[in-house]
Amino acid sequence: MVNKVKVNLKLNGERFSAEIDPRMLLCDFIRDVAGLTGTHIGCMTGNCGACTVLMNGRTVKSCTILAAQANGSDITTIEGLSKGLELNPIQRAFHKRYAVQCGYCTPGMIITAHYLLSLGKTLSRQEIREHISGNLCRCTGYQNIIDAIEELLRDKGLLR
């Protein structure tokens, strides 16, 4: 029997703690222990980005770190970005442009977009492409996603 470890962290603004198997990955912790199934699993090898969450304000692929490593950190998942089904501006931009098809990549993609916008940096379309290239989407061909992010940057005067 493996000894359990205790993990204390801030999850979407609230304190959350649990005793877990030390081998547990952060993505499984979020989905199975915290019950937040908006964080998706597409590969478990760090390639697809469906599991992307914010850890202390930066994007991480939650399949690439152990839950225990997140002890004491501040984690934001897709559920933390809006209230219920209410859409925030990023989500509205995605909705308006059909930047969502099956939606499986969408939470990770929106977390990445959120991070990108939080940087406050001026970006070109090509730079947007590069920034989201760690998030795979099999449905949209990315064009509408890039259009949505471009529009959000333009609104902030951050589009090159």
Binding site: R23, L81, L85, Y98, Q101, C102, G103, E130, R138, Q143
Partner: protein, 790 residues
């Protein structure tokens, strides 16, 4: 307001955008057990014994099931090989787990069921399988040789079937042609890989003998029938629920071995059982696609007119699944010579089994191979004659007044206007300008190339005696308050068909789209339908929605007329109201008319049947399964098509190329929702690009799959997929009441051909021929080196 033709945003988005949508893998009923499969390490081996003693000691393990325990569950096959008996089609029974011998790496041998995923995985790693390893056959042409290892011991060889398609007098055509050319094209093995891996949750209720099955499937109703037949549970005691699905692309068409195994395990154990595939399992055992070689000869005259062709297609099926993978090369065969009028041809298809993962359907479904072959031929002929590649296509197109056009014993094209579509694409792309840019670049030592391809995307598959047909159903219920509930037999694995259906219903019923809710994917709620494949949602589902809406509207109209003391034919309907044409201020809401039907059956609604609920089935009228007097049939029912033009620049030092511009002008008939249609094209082209430049499933000579993660099987990222310019030409289908032709597979069909054409054009100075994909830098570089040596 009219909704059809407008950019209505997708209904299903808010839960997806906020992380609240539930996929099958997010569903965990109380008491759930978790499954894990022990998979074959070898491509071909007899199983001598299985020792589960170490595994059984892992705490939390509830069952270790081996193939022999599933002998009572041969998987019901939703598509029968019987109609293909005349061509030698053979049969194979597939069980949920391996019985006797394994036929591909990754085939499930033992199913472990445990209280947690970790326990199941741990136990699976402790199962000892004793293999008697047999020589594997991995190359289809080797598989045909005498003495090759046999994949199925009870067959006389590895040939699954030999299928002919012949037209005209090919020998005479070759006899009189001024030119002939021969070569071969080869499309590699690749696959769809929806971002959501397959997930199944079976919840069997022992007391009621009732099975609820949550599946990331594309066909809930056929899956219900398959489960009932395989498990021998009465079909009225089985409910299949398809929650949100994270992409299907054909690869979630049932049934899979794991799908059945999970259901049987739940029945045996009396507890919910859940399994979610890992990515490597999807790559190894989730169904593959393509893997076709085409050896061809073509005869033509100096004016560019193609007189005849001979084609031999070698299709590597892998082993066999009950899923419809073996239909894929057939689809290539029966749709040659695609959009071109080639009146004499002889095609022979050989479908061969090997020790690889079986094929399943994948978006494109063989149409991209037909396109690739024909488009390579067009470019070759143009080059041989020194003619422009656009002109050659124009010369050979089936002319617009030829429709309906029979192109093979199995296929009649419904409608089309190929010259107009290509002309528009040439304009949008600015072909002339790019020709100049290309020349200028060449002078500076830069290698720009222009790609041209014309895709034919047969949709609305209608396969005799199968669950792949063109009928579907919609139920509409109008509540007393005028709110509309719609239930469809089609499903939406992510593309937004629910929204398109709502658009059709709102327009034809005359209500606001905000008053429409669409339910899909639950066999207890929805009428029996065939789900999602072959671009059929608008073809069959959209048509059924239109018919059902009109019938309810006419019933409401009668009552509205009585309320307004007018004649039904004098009323118009829109935005939820009936009004008198001449005096529009005299109006009654649909809500009031609906209320009257429910509350006034003896006065206002005296001459209509009570209730406002209806189910309508629509069946495409142009399939033909009873051969006509010439022995001809019709299998596909709708024929969207598109022109692709692109520009690439090749770095001749590395073989890498960039896509500089990409244009698609598409004709999918009447466009219901342009935003969805464009999005489908974006996604289709992106997947086509993946197949054309990077994706390949590689097997070692021993049958080991070498590409089992997104690292060695990369799919396109935002860096590989270019922006696309999309335009439409609408040639409505003569057979669907909406005029829609389907768009689910458009884009993927033409993209590989277009890129091959562009790369070849860029390297024309070297005389490079591009006859094979994927066009990885290493392959392009090698092509340049080889050409330079000559």
């Amino acid at each position: 307001m009219r909704y059809v033709g407008n950019r209505i945003t997708k209904f299903s988005d808010p839960p997806l955008l906020t992380g609240r949508a539930r996929y099958a893998g997010d569903i965990t009923p109380p008491g759930t057990l978790y499954a894990c499969f022990v998979r074959s390490k070898y491509a071909h081996a007899r199983i001598r014994g299985i020792d589960t003693s170490r595994a059984s000691r892992v705490p939390g393990v509830r069952a270790l099931i081996i193939g022999d325990e599933f002998l009572d569950y041969p998987i019901f096959q939703p598509i029968s090989t019987k109609p293909y008996k005349p061509y030698g089609a053979k049969e194979a029974t597939v069980y949920p787990l391996v019985v006797g011998k394994v036929r591909f790496v990754g085939e499930p041998i033992v199913m472990v069921v445990a209280e947690s995923r970790i326990a199941a995985a741990e136990a699976a790693s402790l199962v000892d399988v004793d293999y008697d390893v047999l020589p594997a056959v991995v190359d289809p042409e080797e598989a045909l040789k005498p003495g090759a290892p046999k994949v199925y011991d009870h067959w006389d060889g590895n040939l699954f079937m030999k299928f002919p398609s012949e037209w005209g007098d090919v020998d005479a055509a070759f006899g009189k042609a001024e030119y002939t050319l021969s070569d071969s094209v080869r499309i590699q093995r690749f696959t769809g890989q929806a971002l959501e891996p397959r997930a199944y949750v079976a919840d069997y209720n022992t007391i009621e003998n009732h099975l609820t099955f949550y599946s990331s499937t594309q066909q809930p109703h056929p899956l219900r029938t398959i489960l009932a037949e395989t498990l021998k549970i009465p079909e009225n005691q089985v409910r299949v629920v398809q929650p949100y699905v994270g992409g299907g692309f054909g690869l979630k068409i049932p049934p899979f071995q794991e799908e059945i195994a999970v259901a049987v395990a739940s029945v045996k154990l009396g507890r919910p059982v859940k399994w979610v595939a890992e990515r490597w399992e999807e790559l190894m055992a989730g169904g593959h696609a393509r893997d076709q070689r085409h050896y061809f000869e073509v005869a033509f005259n100096s004016d560019g007119k193609i007189l005849g062709m001979k084609v031999r297609i070698i299709a590597d099926m892998g082993a066999l699944f009950p899923t419809p993978g073996w239909g894929m090369p057939l689809v290539t065969t029966i749709h040659l010579p695609t959009v071109y009028k080639v009146e004499n041809y002889r095609i022979e298809l050989l479908e061969i089994v090997t020790n690889k993962n079986p094929l399943n359907a994948y978006r494109g479904y063989g149409k991209e191979c037909a396109c690739f072959l024909m488009e390579r031929i067009m470019d070759m002929v143009a080059r041989r004659l020194g003619k422009d590649r656009i002109d050659i296509r124009m010369k050979n197109f089936i002319p617009p007044n030829d429709f309906p056009a029979r192109i093979s014993r199995y296929t009649v094209l419904d409608s089309g206007n190929y010259p107009t579509v290509l002309k528009r694409a040439v304009e949008v792309f600015e072909y002339e300008k790019w020709l100049k840019l290309k020349e200028e670049a060449r002078k500076k030592g830069r290698y720009i190339g222009i790609g041209v391809a014309y895709e034919l995307t047969p949709e609305g598959a209608c396969i005799p005696g199968s669950f792949f047909l063109q009928y579907d159903a919609v139920t509409i219920k109008v509540a007393p308050t005028g709110k509309v509930l719609v239930y469809t037999g089609i499903t939406s694995p992510g593309n937004g068909q629910e929204t398109a259906i709502a658009q059709i219903v709102a327009d034809n019923l005359g209500v606001s789209i905000d008053d429409v809710v669409v339910y899909q994917g639950d066999t207890d709620l929805c009428p029996y339908g065939l789900g999602n494949f072959s671009g059929r949602s608008m073809i069959s589902g959209g048509s059924a929605a239109l018919l059902a809406s009109i019938e309810l509207r006419e019933k409401l109209r009668k009552v509205a007329a009585r309320i307004l003391e007018s004649r039904p034919e004098d009323l118009e309907v829109s935005d939820g109201k009936f009004y008198v044409k001449e005096v529009p201020e005299r109006q009654v809401t649909i809500r009031d008319a609906a209320f009257a039907i429910y509350k006034n059956p003896y006065d206002l609604a005296i001459d209509v049947e009570p209730g406002l609920e209806i189910t309508k089935y629509f069946k495409m009228p142009n399939a033909l399964h009873i051969p006509d007097e010439s022995g001809y049939t019709r299998t596909y029912t709708s024929f969207p098509n598109a022109a692709h033009l692109c520009a690439v620049e090749v770095d001749i030092e590395t073989g890498k190329f960039d896509i500089l511009k990409y244009v698609v002008v598409d004709d999918c008939g009447k466009v219901i929702n342009p935003m969805i249609v464009e999005g489908q094209l974006h996604g289709g082209v992106a997947q086509g690009i993946g197949g054309a430049i990077m994706e390949e499933l590689v097997y070692s000579s021993a049958g080991q799959l070498l590409t089992t993660t997104f690292m060695d099987y990369p799919i396109p990222t935002a860096k590989e997929v270019p922006d696309m310019i999309i335009e439409h030409v609408e040639t409505p289908s003569p057979y669907t009441p909406t005029g829609a032709k389907g768009v689910g597979e458009s884009g993927i069909v033409g993209a590989p051909a277009c890129l091959a054409s562009a790369v070849e054009d860029a390297l024309s100075d070297f005389g490079v021929k591009v006859m094979e994909t994927p066009l990885r830098p290493s392959r392009v570089w090698r092509l340049i080196q080889e050409a330079r040596k000559k």
